[in-house]
Symmetry: C2
Subunit: 281 residues, 2 copies
């Protein structure tokens, strides 16, 4: 396994792989890898000759009051996991090289970026699309893999790729969950034992929405009320939003018809957790 | 010469050329080709195996009250010129395919895009960087050529390429001028005979700035005054700006020291004309 931190070296490596006609699959991460990441890596291995994983805690996607500094990092552990999973190249650029002084070029997907998490995290998705565009240009993957836990993110990235005519196929992978249903996330690390227990109500609320639809409820406001009842069992969960929306436009729907996205964001202790479920009627 | 209008076809063609290890040089244009464009094409031919010229009047770089609809177009004449110049591929996408309904992804170079022409043309450079990013992803050139008449544009594109880690070398080519000094531009087409004559004062004002510096004047405000005296000889010229600025940051300088950019934008009749000169002290 090769570990590369220089942008030029990574570019040269990708160029060489392309010359040799190797298919490159790319898994961009912020490190502190968990089972969701390893699932992406396994899928990537099945789809390509060479798997590149980037580990980069991207400063431009954090707000000034967010957890950029405290975001969990453990490069040694991450490299061990990558090695065990048979990753070919780990790209670990430095923030100073990714964003040299005076940096001012941004990629924005307007509209989609302002919904759901975009409301309480202005600028977040601009940071995501900018770093992903940069990483795609450096790694030049044929395929890039993203988890569906970050549903809005993968939707925005797909739109960016399509609209900027990037030559990358985006593959999405189902959310990986712990036994009690909580979606895996590097930020789960922030949770105390009690907060960890409480957090399971987040996926439970999503399941409650699914049940409601099965029971024949289709009024979005009623379903959201039912979800709130689940969440409200524990005062430690501070809801940011609970939304039922169109799975492509992310616009609120009044009634569940066809496929909808049920999405939730909440703070539990220091951790801001997100989760979602696609429900079909 | 191949003429391609489908994005997918152009992508396939570029992919094929890259596979054969051909060097692609790219000249993006809005058509209505003149001697400035043919100069770019000639330079491109000397630098590559295959020359691709795009002809696309890009709607997103025009303001709502600007000349998108009336911008001069003559595809037949353009194709003839390209054929004569030995262009290999002409890419002529449709606006509907470049910007499908709901399009909302933009590339912005903040800062530089808001100076000079960015003041009276808000959104203009966002349109330019977005279309150039798209065209680069479609054509996948090794080299792209831009004229220095659009000085601010080439500066912004170089910054975009550098900061988004695009793998394209930007080559700039000196402004081509008519015998009387007027910079070639498709918009010169708008000028009446009298306006055409009057317009030569624009490059004359730039020369006046150069003379001033040679004569030992280095106060920017004094030089601008002298330039205005030249322009004011003809009331048909409505100045948008006359600026003396740093050639990289485009920030106004108070005194000419080292290299500066002298830039001018003015309306003459229906035409908005721009020109510039780099002056060294």
């Amino acid at each position: 396994m090769r570990v590369v931190s220089s942008i030029e070296e990574m570019k040269g490596l990708s160029r060489g792989l392309r010359k040799e006609d190797k298919t490159i699959a790319f898994v961009p991460t912020m490190g502190y890898l968990h089972g969701g990441h390893t699932e992406l890596i396994r899928r990537a291995k099945g789809l390509s000759d060479v798997v590149v994983v980037s580990i980069f805690v991207n400063p431009t996607q954090f707000g000034p009051k967010e957890d950029y500094r405290s975001y969990p990092r453990d490069m040694e552990r991450d490299l061990k996991i990558c090695r065990e999973e048979g990753v070919d190249v780990v790209f670990t650029p430095e923030a100073e090289e990714m964003y040299p002084e005076g940096f001012s070029t941004y990629v924005t997907v307007e509209g989609l970026s302002e919904r759901l998490c975009g409301v309480s995290r202005p600028g977040h998705f601009r940071g995501v699309t900018t770093v992903v565009a940069k990483l795609f240009n450096i790694v030049t993957p044929h395929i890039a893999l993203f988890g569906l836990k970050d549903y809005q993110q993968q939707l925005i990235i797909k739109k960016m790729v399509r609209e900027l005519n990037m030559d990358v196929k985006i593959v999405t992978v189902e959310t990986v969950r712990d036994e009690d249903g909580l979606a895996l996330s590097s930020r789960n690390r922030y949770l105390t034992d009690n907060e960890r227990k409480v957090s399971r109500l987040i996926p439970e609320a999503l399941k409650r929405a699914e049940e409601c639809v099965k029971e024949g409820v289709s009024e979005a406001s009623c379903i959201i009320e039912e979800m709130k009842k689940v969440i409200d069992r524990k005062p430690e969960i501070m809801v940011d939003y609970i939304k039922i929306c169109h799975p492509e436009t992310l616009e609120d729907v009044e009634r569940v018809e066809g496929e909808v996205l049920v999405a939730i964001a909440a703070k539990v202790g220091r951790a801001r957790l997100i989760d979602n479920l696609i429900i079909k009627k």
